[in-house]
Symmetry: C2
Subunit: 165 residues, 2 copies
């Protein structure tokens, strides 16, 4: 008749003892660390509603206003899911949605001044989170890791862009 004990259920920080076959498996390592990363980021970031908010705001800030479909394409997010996300950003005054005068099918999404401020705040928190995530590595190792990961992402994109010759 335990009430609320549950000594250790799965506890996010609980040490795992993965089978040998998984320990060096890239897909397992990536999934494991992605989960770890998300948990760490969640503890550091206060201002973040959903995880893709930062990506959307950053994209708007860097590349300028865009239609929803355009945004979805840039970030590889589902167009439908973007609807609710932008509703929230709109409600919080971080982004604005207005009809495109040139093509009345589109909405033009713009980041607001408040959006830019929270973008900066989130960026600070996220950087702190990266430091904890990468704590086990020294500077050189961090650079190497990032280069390798980024290379994989870029190369996969390239392959997807140009179908097999």
């Amino acid at each position: 008749m335990a009430k609320s004990n549950d000594s250790a259920r799965s506890a996010p920080w609980a040490p795992a003892d993965p089978p040998e076959r998984l320990r060096r498996l890239p897909s397992w390592l990536l999934n494991h660390l992605a989960g770890r990363s998300n948990r760490i980021v969640a503890t550091y970031v206060e201002h973040l509603g959903r995880r893709s908010d930062y990506a959307v705001l950053a994209s708007l800030d860097e590349t300028g206003p865009a239609s929803q479909a355009e945004l979805a394409r840039r970030l590889a997010i589902d167009r439908g899911d973007l609807v609710g996300l932008l509703n929230r950003l709109n409600d919080e005054g971080l982004a604005e949605r207005r009809p495109d005068p040139d093509d009345r099918r589109r909405n033009v999404i713009t980041i607001t001044a408040a959006g830019r401020r929270t973008l900066v705040a989130i960026g600070r928190d996220i950087q702190a989170a990266q430091d904890e995530l990468l704590a086990p590595l020294n500077a050189a190792q961090r650079a190497t890791l990032i280069d390798l990961l980024q290379h994989m992402v870029d190369h996969h994109h390239a392959e997807a862009a140009e179908p097999p010759a």
Copy 2:
């Protein structure tokens, strides 16, 4: 009135154009590649019901029979979620669940011969998937990447195990 066109909704393989601020962000890279990895694995693996099935079967094969709580601890999976997973493995004849004679609170989970066979089959498919995932890297780069990722995982475990000195 489009019927089923939807040229590109978000398309898993669709090239993304992430903001600069995210391009080199470890947490973004890890999440992006974890997703990519899962999609690739899904296309290669036929025999896999859920993604953690492989981990459970491998753990049973390597470390031997275990109770559910023991398994959950080893793999850092929620005990509750393990219930449904083991139900499936049981239904498919890949694992057996029997009460522990010594401690009647426990179930002893054992992998079956059929379980070992599918374990091997899944392992083959997963290896093929890793090759596609790591295609952008040469052998040396792959080894470096795996070492770095594994080092991170191990170190995070160690820190979680022994509270801050």
